[in-house]
């Protein structure tokens, strides 16, 4: 069902956990849909220097979480914000059609974390 890349990220997820003293944090999803994802980021000079995730969810949810952390690490915020659900799915060599809703989660969590960071820095 899943591509090799998905299974790789599922079996060996990158960047699991929470960054210490996170500059931004985003939690999306809910238990009814079976997927909850929390992304925490560290930002320096407008660049994401560290990022970690925790995810309750299916194989696709965990793999997309892992993939999104790889994609954004080291990126500046503008580039990170440009990452869409499609980018994540593509980077994983695609997801089964029934799993597309899970892939939405990862980019959403990222955007939520960036939003959170911006709100904090503004004030």
């Amino acid at each position: 069902m899943y591509s090799e890349k998905v299974m790789d990220h599922f079996s060996n997820p990158r960047n699991v956990g929470e960054v210490n003293d996170a500059d931004g944090s985003g939690t999306v999803g809910n238990a009814a849909c079976g997927d909850i994802m929390k992304l925490t980021i560290k930002v320096e000079d407008n660049k994401i220097t560290d990022v970690k995730f925790k995810t309750f969810g299916c194989g696709a949810a965990i793999a997309t979480s892992s993939m999104v952390t790889e994609l954004v690490k080291g990126k500046d915020l503008n580039d990170a914000e440009a990452i869409s659900n499609a980018t994540v799915a593509e980077a994983l060599d695609g997801l089964p059609p029934v799993k597309m809703h899970c892939s939405n989660l990862a980019a959403d969590a990222l955007h939520a974390a960036i939003e959170d960071y911006k709100k904090k820095t503004v004030k």
């Binding site: 238990a31 994802m37 925790k54 969810g57």
Partner: protein, 388 residues
Amino acid sequence: MKKICFDHNATTPVADEVFEAMLPFLKGEWGNPSSIHWAGRGPKKAVDAGREALCKFFNCADIETIFTSSGTESNNLAIKGLAWAKKDKGNHIITTRVEHPSVLNTCKALAKEGFETTYLDVDADGLIDLNSLEAAITPKTILISTMFANNETGVLFPIKEIGAIAKKRGVTFHADAVQAAGKTPLDVQGLKVDLLTISGHKLYAPKGIGALFVRRGVRLTPLIHGGHHERNRRGGTENVAGIVALGKAVEIAGRDMAAESERMLAMRTRIEKGMQARIPHVKINGHLEKRLPNTVNISFEFVEGESLLLNLDMKGIAASSGSACTSGSLEPSHVLTSMGLSNEMSHGSVRFSLGKSNTEEDVDYLLEIMPAIVERMRSMSPLYAASK
């Protein structure tokens, strides 16, 4: 890597004896049972013998059986067939919230034709309340359709008691015994059921064959019209090999059930106790006693079922889950949520369903690898962290 199947409620392998029995009807005896010449005679005899075996299994007469293509078709034929035949008598059907989609979606489809369905609730153990059942019966009620045993939890409904109520109130009673067949006795006379569904591939026969018991005197409008097959109740050239296979499978089921059930029960108990002893925050779903000997349904709190299944699969173990994600829908198991489980606990459920191939070593292996899998997935879960 050793492959272990703990998913026998999804389907079963074709038993060797069943395979041997059906083989001649795929290879040599390929005639049409309706033909009067040499090619038809062997197949005709084989269909008759398969029906005889089925009658013995059900404890019924030959005219009380219909071969179909699946449990799903049998359920459709029972429910729609009865509803259509009795539509002048009433338009009310009673079923439960925890039925298989082949029952629920059939009732839903009938709603478009003006039939009404009462869906009985279940309690935390997955059982219905017989008083509520009786209270739901109205003068318009034509059919009660309930599972014999639940496919997700193994919970056994009190079929005999439901049958007694149905009989007393003059309502036809259909039991979906797809999961019960071969695991618990099915005497249709003792049980007072009027219609009873079984499916071959849950019983070590191949996919593509099912059957329906139809009590003498119960009229059904056919679902599939055609020739004179099955006494005009189900058209189509008979699936001879499938019928032979199902006949052999029920013969074996009758022969081996007592011993196999005992063996299953011992393994089931070990899995349940073992999981509870080794892993915190687990919950066994379904009534602890009134359950099939082969089915364990466990929720592992804080983690999602599909991710557990994938981990098990990587270790060679096949199981299934009440998580939405395994079925491609967005909602978790209607069975578990109907029992009052939270969404999270429903998503975190795994079903281990035992079968003939399983051994105590399989159970050892499962109990050995499961704790680490759960722990690993919990360490990734935002819910687990939050609960600490």
